[in-house]
């Protein structure tokens, strides 16, 4: 089956960057990793391009995370990425935005790796079948995983909101 790679690019590339952004928390790094995944896909021409792209992207992000872990610079990375993510804004807005993304990241950290991956893949626009292909879960388990992941995300985020309210 011939793949229209131009169409794959149009329908997938931004989703891939967004997916990776929540894995590495660095917009430009996410773009670079997405680019790498896409270039590899163009070279290998897999039959299921979207699932293949996200699987490779996931591995690239995992490699990158290991590299970051080795440098033990999570906090600095977060901080700088928060800077990177901001266009020019007022200081109040900037602080709010930084807090918001920090909360999202911490809430996602409360999920298991598998739940987080399934949730992010769904959020990036993959179908249940594609998510099953990427994660090697049974298609029938995707809904259950998503339900659990969403609940944990909402609960974890809710806890943080309460803590923040208590601090203020």
């Amino acid at each position: 089956m011939s793949v229209d790679w131009g169409e794959v690019y149009r329908s997938t590339f931004e989703d891939l960057v967004r997916f990776l952004h929540r894995k590495v928390w660095d917009g430009e790094l996410a773009r670079d990793l997405a680019q790498e995944a896409f270039v590899r896909a163009l070279r290998h021409e897999p039959e299921q391009p979207r699932a293949w792209l996200f699987r490779v992207a996931m591995n690239l992000a995992r490699d990158e995370a290991r590299s970051v872990l080795r440098r033990k610079k999570h906090l600095a990375l977060l901080r700088t990425e928060a800077d990177a993510a901001r266009p020019v804004r007022g200081p109040d807005e900037a602080v709010l935005d930084e807090e918001r993304w920090d909360q999202v990241r911490r809430a996602l950290d409360a999920l298991t790796d598998k739940d987080r991956e399934v949730l992010l893949l769904w959020d990036a626009g993959l179908s249940y079948r594609e998510i099953a292909d990427v994660t090697e879960l049974a298609p029938g388990a995707i809904g259950t995983t998503l339900a659990r992941a969403r609940r944990r995300l909402v609960d974890a985020h809710g806890e943080m909101e309460k803590e923040r309210a208590a601090r203020n």
């Binding site: 790679w5 690019y9 149009r10 590339f13 931004e14 960057v17 929540r22 660095d26 917009g27 430009e28 790094l29 996410a30 773009r31 670079d32 990793l33 680019q35 790498e36 896409f38 270039v39 590899r40 163009l42 070279r43 590299s67 970051v68 440098r71 610079k73 906090l75 600095a76 990375l77 901080r79 700088t80 990425e81 800077d83 990177a84 993510a85 901001r86 266009p87 918001r100 999202v104 809430a107 949730l119 959020d123 179908s127 249940y128 049974a138 298609p139 029938g140 388990a141 995707i142 809904g143 259950t144 995983t145 998503l146 339900a147 659990r148 992941a149 969403r150 995300l153 909402v154 985020h157």
Partner: protein
């Protein structure tokens, strides 16, 4: 009657019932049509799903310049390098984008190649040459200038090409990638200064190499010396090119005048640099002028990162080193456009002394270079630099 699971409800909400195995999708639809309990649960799960979506939000990617499909196809069509699976890949390119043109070359060799050509600071980037015929630099791009100087010494008035050098032009915004494509030192050029010189500057006077004297603009004869020779004469601070602060050079009485730095007439240009060369929000640990080689100075700002590490910012500008090499500088200015800088204390030389685990990012800054180093990924350093004024 068996109620549907939460997973089934989410599959329903996600429009994925048809993707469930067997005939499960039909069963779920049928059950929901008759079961008020599950319909109520469906409403709860819908609220949960919606809330999760709100929390995730959309990462702000608007400011990112995404590659076009044509760019990606072009990259994919480029031949894959062997060995390192990342070599030649887009990721590797991204990782090296902000690095200097030479990576991993031992600093001693870097200094040797520079000095062996006997053109002092004018040969600061002599190994960064391009093989093609020299052309004039174009605005907004990279060019190659062939430095030629009339020999004014005993050798007569023939034209001697002393070095080719790549001259990056244009002023990328802070954080933007440098566009110039400079060639790395080929392995054979790293084998020694004489071979390096031969490989890079075919127009060198026959037989010229280490130990020879080459006339530059007829104004200054600089003898080619090895770092070891320079060290013996006390002209180089340390083999590793570790910098001394200017205050620390007070034991060299012959250079007292040089230590009055920056000169009063340059302060108007220097003061704004001192005040702007710091990332807002990070504590400044120190600001000092340091000297890596005689006359090769950098404005060095150290800031404290949130996890206790240090961010080093250095400005390498045209002002640095003007005093001891003023004549050569004047010759240089006559040959290359104002604002382009190449010298022994270059981003590439700094990179060669990077501590393990550190990264370096460079960008054009005013009339020189800003070099930022920290034990962080390049992307993180780059992000920090965006907040510079």
């Amino acid at each position: 009657m068996r109620h549907v699971t939460d997973g089934d409800l989410h599959a329903y909400l996600d429009g994925a019932l048809d993707q469930l195995p067997d005939d499960r999708g039909s069963e779920v639809r049928e059950h929901l049509s008759v079961c008020p309990v599950c319909r109520e649960r469906l409403q709860d799960e819908e609220g949960l799903r919606s809330r999760a979506g709100e929390i995730l939000g959309h990462p702000p990617l608007e400011a990112l310049a995404l590659p076009s499909f044509e760019d990606l196809r072009e990259r994919a069509a480029a031949p894959e390098a062997g060995g390192d699976p990342h070599e030649g890949s887009a990721l590797e390119e991204a990782r090296t984008r902000y690095r200097g043109p030479i990576r991993g070359i031992p600093l001693a060799w870097a200094a040797t190649v520079v000095l062996a050509l006997g053109v002092g600071w004018m040969g600061g980037e002599v190994w960064r040459t391009l093989p093609q015929a020299p052309t004039l630099p174009q605005e907004g791009g990279a060019g190659v200038v062939n430095l030629t100087a009339p020999g004014a010494g005993a050798g007569g008035a023939q034209e001697s090409s002393v070095a080719e050098r790549a001259v990056p032009t244009g002023e990328p915004l802070p954080g933007e990638p440098r566009e110039e494509r400079l060639q790395e030192v080929p392995p054979e050029a790293r084998g020694g200064e004489a071979r390096g010189a031969d490989a890079r500057s075919g127009d060198l006077p026959a037989g010229a190499g280490r130990g020879d004297v080459i006339e530059v603009q007829g104004s200054r004869a600089l003898r080619a010396e090895s770092p070891a020779e320079l060290l013996e004469r006390g002209r180089m601070p340390a083999p590793s090119l570790a910098p001394q602060t200017l205050q620390a050079t007070g034991d060299l009485p012959a250079r007292e005048a040089e230590m009055r730095w920056p000169p009063a007439d340059a302060m108007d240009e220097v003061r704004p640099l001192e005040s702007s060369l710091a990332v807002p929000g990070l504590k400044v640990i120190s600001v000092e002028w340091e000297e890596w080689l005689p006359g090769e100075r950098a404005l060095h700002v150290r800031q404290l990162l949130s996890v206790g590490d240090t961010l080093e910012l250095r400005y390498l500008g045209l002002l640095m080193g003007m005093e001891p090499h003023e004549e050569a500088r004047a010759a240089m200015k006559a040959l290359v456009p104002e604002g382009t800088v190449d010298r022994p204390l270059s981003p590439a030389v700094l990179e060669a002394s990077l501590p393990p685990g550190w990264s370096q990012v460079e960008m054009r800054w005013g009339r020189g270079w800003l070099v930022a180093r920290a034990p962080l990924p390049e992307a993180s350093i780059k992000a920090l630099l965006r907040s510079l004024r």
